[in-house]
């Protein structure tokens, strides 16, 4: 009896070990197998929430159709914990051959940790039509290739504008025009018996700080001087005080959903990233959002020098790029680079635009494909907004960026909630930046 227990325990310990070593062996065997230079190659690619994020599979399929010899397998990760899981997999040596730089903030961690292959040759090949490419440059070398470049627009509800009898954006708006419109919309809608507000500002610091950083001349996040934020916060606080947008406290305590705010016509305008285009269309189709006429306009500008359809409006957004895991089998590097070149090419861009995603590669063909997407607004201003803008990064690549953004997140919550005055909050943030981040 006793012996049998001991044996059982022994088995319980030994069997999983043996299994683990077996599966290990199997793994290496299959990867060497597919690595033969001339034969078919299988690359692995990281992605997240594959059911609701079709872009990875789309790119993999389009690439395979163009290069039947190379297959790309998408490996799924969790969207919220993507960077944590990827970090663990890279450290353990089990990460896929190609992985996504989900945001620019963490790029530096991968790059400085030697977890990205130099892909400068691919960068030279894809050329200047690809926006966001420069953001992945460190010391003259490029470490990732962007396939997607989101940027921020002004979304507006045409029906609510006409109900309030306010003129819709014409592409020439500065921030003052935007604030006036928000106030007029609120009072106009109220007079028409509609409880909707002029605009909606979500809780994220980006909604104020991203545009302030991108548009203000000489604004530099890494300088540790944050005075450029002041006019942007003054405007936001005034709109909030006048009741032209929902109070920040109400948004945070009630966990308001920005998609519901704009999609169910609770606000006539909203400044939001380009990913929301596809979301809004999907929600209008499945009934989560009301059916109404809407359009996109360039984000309001700092001054008239960049405002107007004859000029290039400035906005912000971080690219999403692909990088190559240095642990990739040497014989697969060429194929992986080919894939990277493909995602930033016109063909790759068309594939992405087909499913309502803003590709990094800018071309007329991609614009045409994008506006072919069912449910997309088709007015000229929306097309101009999509195709013409100067998108600056929200998170300039530096080891200090993550720390500075955390400090600015504190500034955002204390100013928007009214816990501190703008000047005090900026002073605190500048002091902290100097003493806690920039000196590291």
């Amino acid at each position: 009896m006793k012996r049998s227990i001991l044996t059982a325990i022994g088995l319980a310990v030994v069997v999983p070990l043996a299994l683990a070593s077996c599966s290990n062996g199997g793994g290496t065997a299959s990867s060497t197998e597919s690595a033969t230079a001339s034969g078919p190659v299988t690359l692995s690619l990281a992605g997240w929430s594959l059911k609701t994020t079709p872009e990875f599979q789309k790119l993999a399929d389009a690439f395979h159709a163009a290069n039947p010899n190379i297959t790309v397998d998408v490996k799924e990760y969790d969207a919220t914990n993507y960077d944590t899981q990827m970090t663990a997999d890279l450290a353990a040596g089990s990460a896929p051959d190609i992985y996504v730089q989900k945001n620019l903030k963490n790029f530096i961690t991968y790059q400085s940790g030697n977890q990205l292959l130099d892909v400068s040759d691919v960068a030279a090949k894809v050329g200047n039509e690809v926006s966001g490419l420069a953001d992945y440059k460190v010391d003259g070398k490029t470490y990732a290739i962007p396939y997607r470049q989101d940027s921020w627009y002004l979304y507006y509800n045409k029906d609510l504008f006409s109900a309030a009898n306010v003129k819709t954006p014409d592409g020439s708006w500065t921030w003052d025009d935007y604030a006036t419109a928000a106030e007029n919309l609120t009072s106009g809608l109220k007079a028409a018996g509609n409880p909707a507000l002029g605009t909606y500002q979500h809780t994220w610091q980006s909604t104020v700080q991203g545009l302030a950083l991108a548009q203000t001349p000489k604004a530099d996040l890494l300088s540790g001087n944050f005075s450029y934020l002041k006019p942007y916060y003054e405007r936001a606080l005034k709109l909030q005080k006048d009741g032209a947008q929902v109070n920040y406290g109400t948004v945070t305590t009630n966990n308001l959903n920005y998609g519901a705010q704009f999609g169910t016509q609770k606000s006539a305008m909203m400044i939001m990233g380009s990913w929301y285009v596809a979301t809004l269309i999907a929600q209008q189709a499945n009934g989560d959002a009301n059916t109404f006429n809407w359009g996109i306009a360039p984000a309001p500008q700092y001054d008239s020098s960049t405002a107007g359809t004859g000029k290039t409006p400035v906005t912000f957004g971080d690219p999403t790029g692909l990088g190559i895991n240095p642990a990739i089998n040497k014989s697969k590097v060429a194929a992986a680079k080919e894939f990277l070149a493909f995602v930033a090419s016109e063909d790759g861009a068309k594939g992405l635009a087909d499913i309502g995603i803003t590709p990094a590669h800018v071309s007329d063909a991609a614009t045409a494909a994008y506006f072919n997407f069912k449910g997309m607004p088709t007015d000229n201003l929306s097309k101009f907004t999509f195709s013409t803008h100067n998108t600056k990064p929200e998170n300039p690549v530096s080891k200090h960026t993550a720390g500075l953004q955390n400090i600015l997140a504190d500034l955002h919550s204390s100013v928007m909630s009214g816990s501190a005055s703008i000047d005090d909050a900026i002073k605190t943030a500048e002091g902290r930046a100097k003493n806690e981040v920039l000196n590291q």
């Binding site: 227990i5 001991l6 961690t109 940790g113 406290g249 305590t253 955390n406 919550s413 909630s417 501190a420």
Partner: protein, 301 residues
């Protein structure tokens, strides 16, 4: 005992076998503990003296992390906030849970129901609690402020959206959540007090307050001690509730140490610095616990 090993008597074989058996019984648990807790904890002490951003080797930098901490204003803010939370959360929870326990130790109709109801918050998901309380605390439309306005408070606090009131709001929710659990412990303690003591006191003419003061409180000493220790450790490492309710804000008004560690480690990838803050938090918890044990011992003597 030790002699049995020197000469190989038949008993020693049995003993060896029993030892092996014992070990093999705890092995499955111990392997998990060693892998998932012991190794990381030991590694923590090493990492605290390094600069490490996850990839590559950790660079040994001596006590630089600790000197940095001394000059780090955010660390001190987090430290002060943690103490603030602890100082109010412990006595409040003690009083409320003891009061509840005394109340529900009474013979009354539906006592089982009320005991269960008081325990409910503890088994509810923290995220759900944080989200719902946040709505209750909503400054303009939340029921709490609407009630306050109805009873004549013209300018009710902004709760989680105000730098001054965010911490009290979090403390209230923390207390509300945990009172049921500690009530249960107190209840167990109360039921082990022999009824004769109360009878004797009553015969001697002691009133309810005197009985509570002179019988209940002293008899509950071991329970109270245990609860205080648990509460102290729990308060110092409060994290999830604050993360979901206020995320440390507005500004840094509810930033606590655990959250600061999380921020430095997982958001800014400074695992060395985050580890050194963890060690400080650990040291503080240990020091206070040892102090409590010493105090308890002295009172026992």
């Amino acid at each position: 005992m030790a002699t049995t090993f020197e000469t190989r008597r038949p008993g020693s074989r049995l003993r060896l076998r029993n030892t092996l058996m014992g070990w093999s019984f705890i092995l499955p648990n111990f392997v998990g503990f060693a892998l998932l807790t012991l190794v990381p904890v030991v590694a923590l002490f090493y990492l605290a003296f390094t600069s490490w951003n996850v990839f590559g080797a950790a660079k040994w930098i001596g006590t630089a992390n600790f000197t940095r901490m001394v000059g780090d204003a955010s660390f001190w803010t987090a430290f002060r906030n943690t103490v603030y939370y602890t100082v109010f959360h412990i006595p409040l929870t003690l009083v409320v849970s003891l009061a509840l326990a005394v109340l529900l130790n009474q013979k009354m109709r539906g006592v089982a129901f009320f005991r269960t109801a008081a325990f409910f918050p503890y088994i509810t998901s923290i995220v759900a609690i944080a989200v719902v309380w946040n709505m209750l605390f909503s400054p303009d439309y939340g029921p709490i402020n609407q009630f306050l306005r109805a009873v004549g408070v013209s300018d009710p606090p902004g709760w989680t959206t105000s730098g001054t009131w965010a911490m009290p709001a979090v403390i209230i929710v923390g207390t509300w959540r945990e009172m049921g659990y500690y009530m249960l412990l107190f209840l167990a303690g109360l039921q082990s007090i022999p009824g004769e003591l109360y009878e004797a006191a009553r015969v001697d003419g002691a009133n309810a307050w005197q009985r509570f003061r002179n019988i209940t409180i002293p008899s509950l000493r071991p329970t109270t001690f245990f609860i205080t220790v648990m509460l102290t450790i729990g308060s110092f490492k409060v994290f999830d509730l604050i993360l979901v309710m206020t995320n440390g804000g507005p500004g840094q008004s509810t930033l606590v140490l655990s959250q600061y560690i999380y921020q430095k480690g997982f958001l800014e990838n400074q695992f060395g610095y985050a580890s050194s803050i963890s060690i400080v938090l650990f040291a503080v918890c240990i020091a206070i616990t040892v102090f409590q044990f010493l105090m308890n011992k002295r009172r026992d003597a």
